[in-house]
């Protein structure tokens, strides 16, 4: 019985935090069906969801956020794994270079927005270099990456931050696989590339999937980067939602919450799919090490 008390005490603060998360999710769901007594709204209804799914600006916002999240996470994972393999192959899994690779993880998103503006706006450094090399005659010829519906500036900002994140996130695991099983594969006649494809990469998929999920959900709900680098229309989902949330028209509040609920639903759905995928992969590898 004494142990039980100890466990309860140890888990109490964690439980409290989880309760706060649950409360937030609960609030979102309750308010999204239009139940906000403080605003005089007491009749639950699904109208707001209906509105959300029929409004063009909302649908395009979903599309924008999905696009940002998908491009950012897929490219980050591919390039991050590449950087990680480069670190492993060059024997730089600790020390100086690794600190440089980790640096972007420490740089706040708002600062990354500054980087992207200075480098990739139409009069940014990249355009200037292009001009100096004679590739462009005018700054307007530089592709418009920022403040456009393509959201390429936002995606590139996420890449700058998340490629190193993936590289660092998978480094320890891929390094140990490469040094044991990868080495064994090469010893059995596989070339370095073959050994990566046949052994190291498939073995690392659960870890890569975790990194993918973290980035996807973060970029999907991210606020600063699409706000600072994106177009005025269509907006990213989080920006659109916050706009509705802070609207003086109180009836926009349940609408914002319905958007939040949809965002939550999509995130959870993805997590569920990935969770089961990773679970099955781990099982196939016999519990997975």
């Amino acid at each position: 019985m004494k142990e039980k008390t100890a466990i309860i005490l140890l888990l109490a603060p964690f439980g409290l935090l989880m309760a706060v998360v649950a409360a937030a999710v609960g609030n979102v769901l309750v308010q999204s069906v239009g139940y906000i007594p403080a605003f005089g709204l007491t009749k639950p209804t699904l109208d707001y969801y209906l509105q959300v799914f029929t409004r063009a600006d909302f649908l395009s916002a979903v599309w924008v956020s999905l696009r940002i999240a998908l491009f950012s996470s897929v490219l980050s994972c591919i390039l991050g794994v590449l950087v990680s393999m480069a670190l492993i192959r060059c024997g730089k899994t600790r020390g100086g270079i690794l600190y440089a690779i980790r640096a972007p993880i420490l740089v706040p998103h708002a600062v990354v927005a500054v980087f992207i503006i200075q480098l990739l706006s139409q009069n940014g450094l990249a355009a200037r270099v292009g001009f100096a090399l004679g590739l462009l005659e005018d700054s307007a010829q530089f592709p418009q990456l920022l403040y456009t519906p393509g959201y390429w500036g936002t995606i590139l900002a996420y890449l700058w931050k998340e490629i190193p994140f993936v590289a660092y996130f998978v480094l320890a695991f891929m390094g140990s696989i490469s040094a044991t099983l990868g080495e064994a594969a090469e010893n059995l006649g596989a070339s370095a590339l073959r050994s990566f494809w046949e052994i190291t990469l498939p073995m690392s998929i659960p870890v890569i999937a975790r990194a993918f999920l973290i980035i996807f959900i973060f970029a999907f709900g991210g606020y600063e980067l699409p706000l600072l680098l994106g177009a005025t229309a269509p907006k990213a989902l989080s920006v659109q939602t916050y706009l509705a949330y802070t609207s003086p028209d109180l009836l926009q509040r349940p609408l914002a919450m319905a958007m939040n609920a949809v965002m939550l639903l999509l995130s959870s759905l993805l997590a569920l799919i990935f969770g089961s995928l990773v679970f099955r992969l781990n099982r196939r590898m016999g519990g997975g090490k």
Binding site: A184, E186, N187, L188, G189, A190, L281, M285, G286, K289
Partner: protein, 341 residues
């Protein structure tokens, strides 16, 4: 000449590990690289397999220089201590892996894998995952997988030390049997003296990145080149004495030798001491410990030397008994004692 290593040097960031090491090996030979942990034997094996870069020297296999060849083109196949079976592949896929790398068609390579699994008595386990196997079974699969790569040289990296006593014996026999069957050249890296002595055609004894002695197990055990080499096999007793006018003299012992005059120590092992005879070397019984299959008796000579001798059967001795033992020396080994000490 199957394998030839010339003046091989390997260094890590932390310092040199192999210092200009040379070694030759015949086709079809079973060689053990024996030495304490940290002596560089695993590094030597990895250098042969191309897993660690070498700083100097050459490695030839069948007369072809392989020093700069990438790992996968060498044909020097390692069975690692931790097996390193691929957990995401089935047992059969594991064994078929080297064939896949060689471009063998799927049906053919799975057929070969089945055959090889039968050879290591693992038939019927084709579709299992490595995690479902016991340690001994995993070792068999790892062996089959190595065989599938058609090794020009098979390297066993402390291959049996992860197994328990009974399995180890079984695996050793299996390896020796496969060596004959596939006519392989094998290097066993081990710190286990008994294993090296019992399995090998020759033993290469390594200390601190250098090859100290290379010879048949009998030579290495009975004619060690230094006290260090002798001590590694344990159970050594040294009798201090002197060589004068071509004769070595120590209490109770005198024999002719070709060594130069000076102070020497004579290497003796317990089998030199016989206590059943009435000899001229008195010893006192200090302790008697019964160990089941034998009884170890600690005997102290009058010269202060401690002997540990094992007896089988009932021992009719008491602590404190004084016995008249005898020393018989067939191939005396003398180590010079430097006068500085």
């Amino acid at each position: 000449m199957k394998l030839e290593i010339e003046n091989l040097s390997v260094a890590y960031d932390t310092g040199a590990v192999l210092h200009g090491l040379s070694l030759q090996m015949e086709e079809g030979e079973f060689l053990s690289i024996l030495g304490p942990s940290g002596c560089g034997k695993t590094t030597l094996m990895k250098a042969i397999a191309g897993i660690v870069p070498v700083q100097g020297g050459h490695i030839y296999l069948d007369g072809q220089e392989i020093t700069a060849l990438p790992i996968h083109k060498r044909g020097t196949v390692v069975v690692f201590q931790d097996m390193r079976l691929f957990p995401h592949k089935t047992v059969a896929e594991n064994v078929a892996f080297p064939l896949k790398m060689q471009g063998v068609a799927k049906g053919e390579r799975l057929r070969r894998a089945r055959e090889l699994l039968q050879t290591v008595q693992m038939g019927g386990y084709e579709n299992r995952r490595p995690s479902e196997l016991s340690g001994g079974q995993q070792q068999r699969v790892a062996l089959a997988r190595a065989l599938a790569a058609k090794p020009r040289l098979l390297l066993l990296d402390e291959a049996f030390s992860a197994l328990d006593e009974n399995l180890r014996e079984e695996m050793r026999n299996l390896v020796l049997q496969l060596k004959e069957e596939f006519q392989m050249t094998v290097i066993l890296v081990t710190h286990d003296r008994e294993e090296a002595l019992s399995m090998s055609d020759r033993i290469a004894l390594m200390f601190e990145g250098r090859l100290i002695q290379c010879g048949t197990p009998w030579q290495v055990y009975t004619q060690p080149v230094s006290r260090q080499a002798a001590d590694y096999f344990g159970n050594c007793v040294y009798l201090p004495g002197t060589v004068e006018q071509g004769m070595f003299t120590a209490p109770g012992i005198r024999f002719p030798t070709e060594k130069a005059e000076g102070n020497y120590e004579l290497l003796l092992r317990p089998d030199c001491l016989s206590i059943l005879d009435a000899g001229d070397y008195p010893v006192t019984v200090e302790t008697i410990s019964f160990r089941g299959s034998d009884t170890v008796v600690h005997l102290r000579g009058t010269d202060g030397v401690l002997w540990k001798k094992a007896f089988t059967g009932k021992v009719n001795l008491q602590v404190g008994d004084t016995l008249r033992a005898a020393l018989t020396i067939e191939n005396p080994v003398l180590f010079e004692v430097s006068s500085a000490q």
